[in-house]
Assembly symmetry: C2
Homo-oligomer: 110 residues x 2
């Protein structure tokens, strides 16, 4: 599996897309603080079991879409903008029809 395979597999589940959306605009309940969202918030937002949320977060972190930091008992999650930016470039490249190998540097249309 390439890292692209891992990335797109991570994005290919509706629950995980909802999690990414929630990380962008979390509510002001519970442990959420300064855009850092804890797992229990996500669990309540999605209505899935704790085990399932833990599983999804592991996949999102492995795909480098989300960063995880442990604060005491809580895990706090945030979007990783670099990965989104790199993926935006991947799509922009293909939208522009340019081949990946023989491209002059700096020409990514992102």
């Amino acid at each position: 599996m390439t890292s692209n395979d891992i990335l797109f597999k991570a994005l290919s589940d509706p629950a995980r897309l909802r999690i990414l959306d929630f990380l962008r605009k979390p509510g002001s309940d519970c442990c959420t603080f300064e855009g850092k969202v804890c797992a229990c918030d996500i669990e309540r937002e999605l209505g899935l079991s704790q085990a399932t949320i833990s599983h999804h977060m592991k996949i999102l972190v492995a795909a480098e879409l989300v960063a995880a930091t442990k604060l005491g008992r809580w895990m706090h999650y945030t979007i990783r903008p670099e990965t989104f930016a790199a993926t935006a470039a991947w799509f922009a490249e293909r939208a522009a029809g340019t081949a990946p190998a023989p491209r002059p540097k700096g020409s990514v249309a992102a």
Copy 2:
């Protein structure tokens, strides 16, 4: 299923990613003509059965990643750059951390 779900599911299979790559830089064999690739070329390139390729192409077309045109007995496939551009914007939006709803028009960082 939203159209994003369909799109990301279409991208979440290694065989389909290889097909998208091949559509960008097809060889000069067989029916390939002016960047239009026929199903038999893809079949030979990937080493999968004809039924499997047909299945994958259906998914890529449904996700609007690929356009299909029938020429006589042959199906010719091409990348749909609009979809890649729109998806690039989707990622760029999230890389920039902007929310989708209350955003002034024209501020997408793509």
